[in-house]
C-alpha cells in the first residue's frame, strides 16, 4: 500500500495527531540504539489504548503491512529497526502506572513506563522493581518484557522474565489476550506469559503488564579487587559462587575498559591492572557485611590478585558502580563507532571465554574492551572502530562471528540479555538448531497467521 493511503487510512482510525508519515518522522524512527542498522518505516502511529492498538493490528493484517511495536528504542540488537518498512507502533503514549499494590507486591503498568519511573514510584512504598538494565532511565517496561532485559542484579535476583506475572497483549489477529495475572501460583494451561516474554514483538504487542515487586533492601556494601588478567578475575568469581555465595553484584572490566573509564571519569582506578572485579551485596547490614567480607577474603587469596579494598562509604561505592556503568560510553569515546556484544557462557567457562576474546582481538587487530556481569557468565565484548574504515568494519564483522562461535563452543549463547533482533539473526540457527527454529516458525503462525508482527525476527 502506498505511504499516503496507508497514512490516510490510519488517520481515519486514530486521528491526525497520532499518525506521522513525513520524511523527518520516518527518518527519526529508522533507527534504534544499534549501530549499522537502518530502515525507513512508511508510517508511525502512537495509540492511546489497547483498543487502538488492536485496530491498528487488524488494519495491518487486512493490508498485509509489517508492524513493529517500539518503546524507547534503546535496544542494542536492532529489534525495532523497520527493515521491511511498514508501520511502527510507538507505545510512548501509553505510559501510565495503573496500580501499585503493596500487600500483593505488584504493579500494573502500561508498556511505555520507563524502568526508573516504575522503580521510583514503588520505592515510595518501600518496594523495588528489580530488573535494572544499563538503560533503565530510558528503557520501557514493555521493551524490557519484549527482550527479557537483564541488568546488574541477575545472579541473585534473576532478570525480567522472573518479574512479569501477567500480560495483556494484542495478537497478530487483532484479538486481545490476557495471560497470567496477579497470582503467585497458577498452572492452568500453557505458560503463555513466559512464551511472550523475550518474543521481540513477533507474537503479540503488549498493552498492559503486571510486574512482581520485592521489598527494597535496607543496606548495601561494595568492594573492588584488581587482578592481572580478566581470566584471573573469572576464576575468583567462580570460586566465590562455589563457596555458596550468591551476591547482588559481581561485575568486571578488563584493562582496556579500566583505562578508558579512568581517562574519562578520573575515579582513581588502578589502570595498570589487567582486570577489575566489583563485588557487592544488599540486604540487612549484618548479612551484607558477612557476604562482602567473604568475597574480599576469597579474592585476596585468588590467583593473580593485585589488591582488594572495600568501599569505605556510599560515595566510594557509588564511584565503583559508576565505573562499571560508564564502561560503554567511556569506550565509545575512543572511536567513531562501537559495537557492543552480549554473549553468555556457563560460569566455569568464563576464564576461557575471556582469554579467547583477547586472542580474537589480536587476530583481527581490533580494539576490543570487555566488561560484563561476571556472576552471570554474561560478557559484553565491545569493538571500538572507525566507521569510515571499510576494512576495519569487515574485520569487526569477522571477529563478531568468531565471538559468537566461541560462545556456542563453550556451551553458551549468542545473546544473554540484549536480544537477537536483526544483529544476531544470522547466528540464531547455529544456536537453536533446525527443529527449534522450525518450532519458532510454527508458533508464530498460531499467534500471527499473516506474519505481520515484526516479520523475519527470531527466525520467524
Amino acid at each position: 500500500m502506498a505511504e499516503q493511503s496507508l497514512a490516510s487510512a490510519l488517520t481515519a482510525l486514530l486521528g491526525a495527531d497520532r499518525v506521522f508519515a513525513d520524511s523527518a518522522a520516518r527518518e527519526a524512527y529508522s533507527r534504534d540504539a544499534t549501530p549499522l542498522f537502518r530502515g525507513l518505516p512508511e508510517v508511525i502511529v502512537a495509540p492511546h489504548s489497547t483498543q487502538e492498538v488492536a485496530e491498528v493490528v487488524k488494519f495491518a493484517r487486512a493490508t498485509k503491512t509489517p508492524i513493529i511495536a517500539r518503546g524507547a528504542g534503546s535496544n542494542l540488537c536492532a529489534a525495532t529497526v523497520p527493515l521491511n518498512g511498514g508501520i511502527v507502533v510507538s507505545m510512548m503514549q501509553m505510559k501510565k502506572i495503573l496500580e501499585v499494590s503493596r500487600n500483593e507486591m505488584l504493579a500494573v503498568v502500561q508498556p511505555g513506563v520507563s524502568t526508573t519511573e516504575l522503580d521510583d514510584v514503588v520505592a515510595k512504598e518501600g518496594l523495588m522493581y528489580v530488573p535494572d538494565p544499563g538503560s533503565k532511565t530510558v528503557s520501557t517496561i514493555g521493551g524490557n518484557a519484549a527482550t527479557s532485559a537483564g541488568g546488574l542484579r541477575g545472579l541473585k535476583y534473576g532478570t525480567t522474565k522472573n518479574y512479569i506475572l501477567g500480560l495483556e497483549a494484542v495478537l497478530g489477529t487483532g484479538e486481545v489476550i490476557r495471560t497470567g495475572g496477579r497470582l503467585v501460583k497458577d498452572v492452568a494451561g500453557y505458560d503463555i506469559t513466559r512464551l511472550l516474554i523475550g518474543s521481540e514483538g513477533t507474537l503479540a504487542i503488549f498493552t498492559e503488564i503486571t510486574t512482581a515487586l520485592t521489598p527494597r533492601p535496607k543496606s548495601s556494601q561494595y568492594g573492588v579487587a584488581y587482578f592481572n588478567t580478566l581470566a584471573d578475575a573469572s576464576v575468583a568469581v567462580d570460586a566465590i559462587v562455589a563457596a555458596g555465595i550468591l551476591p547482588a553484584t559481581l561485575e568486571f572490566l578488563d584493562n582496556t575498559c579500566i583505562k578508558a573509564v579512568e581517562d574519562f571519569a578520573h575515579l582513581g582506578l588502578d589502570s595498570q591492572a589487567g582486570a577489575l572485579l566489583l563485588f557487592g551485596d544488599d540486604g540487612n547490614s549484618e548479612s551484607v557485611a558477612k557476604t562482602v567480607g567473604a568475597m574480599a577474603d576469597i579474592s585476596s587469596s585468588a590467583r593473580g590478585v593485585r589488591a582488594v579494598t572495600l568501599a569505605p562509604d556510599v560515595a566510594a561505592a557509588e564511584a565503583l558502580l559508576y565505573a562499571r556503568r560508564c564502561s560503554l560510553p567511556a569506550l565509545a569515546r575512543l572511536g567513531s563507532m562501537s559495537i557492543l556484544e552480549d554473549i553468555s557462557v556457563p560460569r566455569p567457562q568464563l576464564s576461557k571465554a575471556a582469554e579467547a576474546i583477547e586472542k580474537i582481538s589480536e587476530k583481527h587487530s581490533l580494539l576490543i574492551g570487555t566488561f560484563g556481569h561476571a556472576g552471570d557468565g554474561n560478557l559484553h565484548p565491545t569493538i571500538v572502530l572507525d566507521k569510515d574504515d571499510a576494512d576495519e568494519v569487515t574485520r569487526a564483522e569477522r571477529s563478531l562471528s568468531d565471538i559468537f562461535n566461541l560462545a556456542l563452543e563453550l556451551g553458551g549463547t549468542i545473546t544473554g540479555e540484549h536480544g537477537v533482533g536483526s544483529a544476531k539473526l544470522p547466528y540464531l540457527r547455529a544456536k537453536l538448531g533446525d527443529v527449534s527454529l522450525s518450532l519458532h516458525h510454527n508458533i508464530k503462525s498460531v499467534f500471527d497467521p499473516d506474519r505481520i508482527l515484526n516479520p523475519g525476527r527470531l527466525g520467524t
Binding site: 523527518a24 518522522a25 527519526a28 540504539a33 524507547a72 510507538s90 510512548m92 538503560s135 532511565t137 560510553p329
Partner: protein
C-alpha cells in the same frame, strides 16, 4: 557567505552520538510529545540525514524540529558519550536560519542590538546602574534586554559590589545571535565585548555568561552567583524565614555546570525549597517564548502549578529571559510569589 558559516555539521561532533537514547527523559519537548523526532537523539538522527543528503535542509519536518527545540541543553549533562548538542543545534540553525530564512522576530531582535549605540538607545530610559570605573579588573556585563527590562538588577549589583567597573557604552554579547542562526556574528560580538571589558566579566544572565565563556574561555567569565562569596543573614517575613525557590538557568546549569552556587546563597537567605524540576527549562529559552509562544506556555504550565503549591515568597531567577517568562506566567495564574534576580534578593537582605 562568510568562512565561519556552516554548510554542514562538524562530522566529529555528530559521530559522538551512540544513539543510546539516555537523553530522551531529559528533553522537555520529548516529554510533551513522546515523539522520537522531537528528542535530542531523534534530532541528531535528522542532522545525520541532512549531513548525508538523505533529507534536504529545506525539509519542513526537519526545520520544524530545529525550531521546536528549546536549546536548553538538558540533554548534555545526561549524555554518557559527551555529545555537544548545543553546538550542533547552533550549527543547524546557522544553516537553516541564514539570511532571508531567518524568522522576522529574530531579524528584528538582531537589529535592536546590532551596535552598542542601539543597545544604549533601547535602554536609554531605563534606570540602570551608573557608569563607574574601579581599580579592580572586574567589569559588569549589563546584557541588552536585561538592562532594558530589569534595570534593578544592575543597580543591585552596583550596590552589593562597589569594587566593580560598570560601563553602559558596552554592546551585546552575541548569545542571541549564536542561538538563532548567526554563529559568526555571535562570536564577533562576544570578542568585541571581551575587548571592551578587559579582565573578568561578571554577568547576571546565565545565557550570556555561558556564551561568553564558550567564546572567551571560562577563566574570563563569572556568573554572579558563582562570583558571590560573602556570607548572608537570613531574611524573615512575619517573624518566619522567607520561603525561597529557584529556577535554574539552562545554559548556566547545562553549559557551565553552575547550579550549586545559587542554592548555597539562597539557603543562607531563608528557607530554601527545591522547586520540582527546577533544572528543567521554563520555556523562555531566549527568543523561544516570542517565536513559539504556545509551546513555551505548554512547557511552563506544570512548573506554574508546582510553584503555586509551594507558596513561596520569592522565586529566584538567574537569567532575564527566565525572569520575564516566570513573571508573566505567575501573573496569568494569579500566583503571588515574587520573581526576582538573585542579586536583587541579596540586596534586600539585612
Amino acid at each position: 557567505m562568510s568562512a565561519e558559516s556552516h554548510e554542514k555539521f562538524t562530522q566529529a561532533k555528530l559521530d559522538r552520538c551512540i544513539s543510546c537514547g539516555y537523553c530522551l527523559p531529559a528533553c522537555p519537548t520529548y516529554q510533551i510529545t513522546g515523539e522520537e523526532q522531537s528528542s535530542p537523539r531523534g534530532r541528531i538522527t535528522l542532522m545525520r540525514a541532512l549531513q548525508d543528503g538523505r533529507l534536504p535542509f529545506s525539509d519542513e519536518g526537519a526545520q520544524e524540529q530545529a525550531s521546536f527545540c528549546l536549546g536548553c541543553r538538558a540533554c548534555e549533562p545526561v549524555c554518557p558519550a559527551g555529545v555537544e548538542y548545543g553546538v550542533l543545534l547552533e550549527e543547524w540553525r546557522d544553516i537553516t536560519w541564514r539570511g532571508r530564512k531567518r524568522p522576522l522576530i529574530i531579524k528584528a531582535l538582531f537589529q535592536m542590538v546590532s551596535a552598542p549605540w542601539r543597545v544604549h538607545l533601547m535602554s536609554a530610559l531605563s534606570p540602570i546602574a551608573r557608569k563607574r570605573k574601579s581599580s579592580t579588573d572586574i567589569h559588569l556585563a549589563l546584557g541588552c534586554f536585561e538592562r532594558r527590562l530589569f534595570p534593578k538588577v544592575s543597580r543591585a549589583v552596583a550596590q552589593l559590589a562597589p569594587s566593580i567597573s560598570i560601563d553602559p557604552s558596552q554592546g551585546c554579547c552575541g548569545a542571541l545571535h549564536a542561538h538563532n542562526g548567526d554563529l559568526e556574528g555571535g562570536k564577533a560580538l562576544a570578542k568585541e565585548l571581551g575587548e571592551k571589558l578587559p579582565g573578568t566579566i561578571l554577568s547576571t544572565a546565565g545565557g550570556c555568561a555561558a556564551h561568553l565563556s564558550a567564546v572567551l574561555g571560562k577563566e574570563r567569565v563569572q556568573e554572579f552567583s558563582q562570583w558571590w562569596s560573602r556570607n548572608l543573614k537570613p531574611m524573615t517575613r512575619n517573624g518566619k524565614p522567607i520561603r525561597i525557590g529557584l529556577q535554574d538557568s539552562c545554559h548556566l546549569r547545562n553549559g557551565m555546570g553552575v547550579f550549586k552556587e545559587p542554592r548555597k546563597i539562597l539557603t543562607q537567605l531563608g528557607e530554601y525549597v527545591e522547586v520540582p524540576n527546577a533544572q528543567g527549562c521554563c520555556g523562555a529559552a531566549g527568543s523561544y517564548s516570542l517565536l513559539r509562544s504556545r509551546d513555551s506556555k505548554k512547557i511552563i504550565a506544570p512548573k506554574v502549578a508546582a510553584i503555586k503549591e509551594l507558596e513561596l515568597d520569592y522565586l529566584v531567577s538567574v537569567n532575564p529571559g527566565c525572569t520575564r517568562q516566570l513573571k508573566s506566567a505567575l501573573r496569568r495564574a494569579r500566583v503571588k510569589t515574587k520573581v526576582v534576580h538573585i542579586a536583587e534578593l541579596i540586596a534586600l537582605a539585612p
